[in-house]
Assembly symmetry: C2
Homo-oligomer: 204 residues x 2
């Protein structure tokens, strides 16, 4: 028995979600088919209107809600006047911004690069929004730029690129700490992490 | 930062999919937000109309496409006149039916129970569609009923229930074989599987 074209279309669309293969997509479809039809209908409506109500913040790239009749898509963080406008945290993706926001430790605002430098995937310096970042630093009079790209090969390469390209602005650039995670066991830390924990040691 | 109500609604709907928790649902939403808006829109439309175009087959419980102007929802297998109408394969879920169809070894038709007997989840004999199954056996003059519920505790209990409840019909009931899977290593087979492989041995 072949799946009907309707199911095959839905499976191929669901397979585009991160980490979802054809088997998982089929499981989702069969679940939706055998459950209350209202679930599929609600999910359908919400997804259909997703991009009508939400957009990228035009200043930082975070998710922004579009108020009706509003032409400027600014996110809650960019609108929040209690935030320090002189501290800018540069992240790779919106996911990373949310992870940092969950700590409650970030007083400044953000800049989402959208991608990291990745020679393997053919993403070079010209694919990063460096001119927009440069303009932002100058317009806002940024005093400290915290580079919060992940401590991976691509993340480190991106951090080095930012350091080189933005040196002329004279802005203070800092990098988030990398080391043994909270609750982590030294015994199981990989050598690179352990090495970073040592070189990044601070006075007690 | 709090997620907007729109995102929270979508996350809670996606979390209902099997195996999807809040974190995975958030990943899906962020992926859709940062990708081509057309993906979310297409997925939304397909999901919204899912139950308009597909329904449970009214004879066997398989997925059936609804042709426009057609009141009877019969699946492709029930419509297929080349199938042997006297062989009936009883399965727990549509997933299992599809797994059996993929083998191409089933010449008969199906009956989807929809659920298995599960005292732990409070599913008793009265929750299974036994009267409908009984009627089907008599109407179609079934000669062999293959019980293809899974070889789990619930699946075996369901098979025993069917054997007891349908004994009066005089239909020949068979059970799918359980044993060491193809390519499996005897060394790593659990004792129950190994025991079934032994008791279910066949002459060479």
């Amino acid at each position: 028995m072949q799946y009907s074209p309707k199911i095959r279309r839905l499976v191929s669309l669901l397979s585009r979600l991160p980490g979802v293969g054809e088997k998982t997509a089929q499981r989702y479809v069969l679940y939706l088919l055998t459950s209350d039809p209202q679930i599929a209908r609600d999910l359908g409506s919400e997804l259909h209107t997703l991009h009508d109500e939400l957009r990228s913040c035009e200043r930082c790239g975070n998710v922004a809600e579009i108020a009706t009749g509003d032409n400027h898509a600014l996110c809650d963080i960019c609108k929040d006047t209690r935030r320090d406008p002189h501290i800018l945290c540069v992240v790779g993706r919106v996911h990373d911004l949310l992870a940092i926001e969950r700590t409650g430790a970030m007083r400044g605002r953000y800049f989402v690069l959208g991608r990291l430098l990745s020679p393997l995937e053919g993403i070079g310096p010209e694919d990063l929004p460096l001119p927009r970042l440069l303009a932002r630093i100058e317009e806002d009079g940024i005093s400290e730029m915290i580079v919060a790209t992940p401590p991976s090969v691509d993340g480190e390469a991106t951090a080095l690129l930012l350091k080189r390209e933005l040196a002329s602005t004279g802005v203070t650039m800092t990098r988030i700490a990398s080391g043994v995670p909270h609750g982590g066991d030294l015994e199981y830390a990989d050598p690179i992490t352990m090495g970073r924990a040592l070189t990044g040691r601070r006075s007690l």
